[in-house]
Symmetry: C3
Subunit: 212 residues, 3 copies
């Protein structure tokens, strides 16, 4: 990770912020289920870093950064502790958290896809691991709290912006255009698409019904 992001110095900072925010979402789910402090921190870790752990396992990049990179693990713990102590107030800041989470989605889809490409995965496989990086943590959060993964059924445009971002990232890579500016632009685009979906209640369709 560090190698590639050296040319892109803004991404590591945003990545840490993304982990903090995703970890907060995991910790909040655990607080609501009355988990104990260990469970709350595990959920923070699984939600903040689980997508990256799945990505690294799929790429054979082991041990995954999610269990070995102190910077990222600290970010997950910080996110978990902030929510552990702050949840009575932070629940009210829900709108703010949703915006931050859109930022995490955007960053993880770009960083995850680049990580796949740098490990020599095909563009197709890199797009898959980009999406896994972006939504995998939330899927683990939901499974560990006994919920059906929200990304699969809630019809929000959540995975689709991540897929678009991963696909554009892979296309830019094929064109040799993966500097800081280009990648940041993709991330901003995913972020904007997600915010538009939230603002205008854009939704993915459910099971198809034949027109009468």
């Amino acid at each position: 990770m560090d190698v590639d992001l050296a040319q892109v110095p803004v991404l590591p900072v945003l990545e840490v912020l993304g982990v903090v925010v995703a970890a907060m979402s995991g910790a909040l789910a655990a607080v609501r289920k009355q988990f104990d402090v260990f469970g709350i921190l595990v959920l923070a870790w699984a939600t903040g870093l689980g997508g990256g752990v799945l990505r690294d396992v799929l790429l054979g990049a082991v041990p995954p950064v999610g269990i070995s990179e102190p910077r990222l693990m600290l970010a997950a713990v910080v996110g978990g502790l902030v929510m552990y102590f702050g949840h009575p107030r932070l629940e009210r800041a829900r709108r703010f958290i949703v915006v931050l989470d859109a930022g995490a989605l955007a960053l993880f889809s770009v960083v995850g896809t680049v990580t796949g490409l740098e490990h020599g995965a095909t563009p197709l496989a890199s797009v898959v691991v980009g999406v896994v990086t972006a939504v995998g943590g939330g899927v683990l959060r939901d499974l560990l709290t006994g919920e059906v993964p929200v990304v699969l059924h809630q019809r929000q445009l959540y995975a689709i912006p991540a897929m678009a971002g991963a696909a554009v990232t892979a296309a830019l890579w094929a064109l040799g255009t993966t500097g800081a500016v280009a990648l940041t632009a993709v991330a901003v685009g995913v972020f904007a698409l997600r915010l538009l979906a939230l603002r205008f209640h854009l939704a993915a369709p459910g099971p198809w019904r034949a027109p009468r």
Copy 2:
């Protein structure tokens, strides 16, 4: 995969058919849970290719063919789309789907075991990954839709034919007999065993009760 199956040209075609059918079963579970279109395609992918992804991760054969092989991924998407648009009619074709699913079980157990052996795994480990290939997709389908895995509790003879097929495949390998004819015969045997179990309601026993 391609290397080994070059000697066995009939298997790749049947493997693609197996993925399509398994993907349809995943998509149907997602449709019933009112998942959105993304969720339906994820379930198609996870059910059609998830067993193979787990197998490849256990063998260190990464990235798994389930995220990198366009032929197989396309098969999963096709299976998902067929069920997405066809579910009002296909639910009625339930019996036909069950037969196709028995074929997928048979193929995945043979192909999964051969893949393990070709990666240098021991016969014991190869049998395990063969069974994981055959039933892993269905387990993921059930976990992602919030169900207890049907293969673990429904007492159908489902995993047991797969175990038998994996064990016979490993035995043939030890004897040096893994040509197209031998492997096809094993797959046909698993298929027949599964169909007999369905026809005559053969069941695995539940928790043991001491005779009085």
Copy 3:
């Protein structure tokens, strides 16, 4: 595994005992859910060896010992069969099983951490895989039976003794002190801490409430 444990000849025996006990806990959960005999043995295997499988996948030590080491797989099957036939009587021996399970927790945390360190993982990553080895099987057991993982919410001191054991093991490794006596002492300490927690109902705190 064998290499490192050669210097520590008492651990392999205890490790097998740990797998048997953990497998019994998995099989019992499956019996209570009325799983069939295949499901009961899968739960025995997943609970007895699943933590080690997750550890080995995270370390890239594939195929995992949990699918390739006959000694350990036999231990899981024995644990499963003992519970399959003995459950009407063994449920009454609940207190005894809880004590054995504390022993398994202690051993798995030490063995898991040493395995990580021997594979060249950082101390931080080794502590994580030690805890994963200790509690991962129980998490898989709960997910496969449709339960929220008990380790995350039941406020027992269960994961915390494992974390302490893993951290002390990593510290001893850094000091070059990982002989049989030192490692056994750590395992005994984790075991004692877990039994004290059970005896005196020590609990991890739940979600934080601000003092008024």
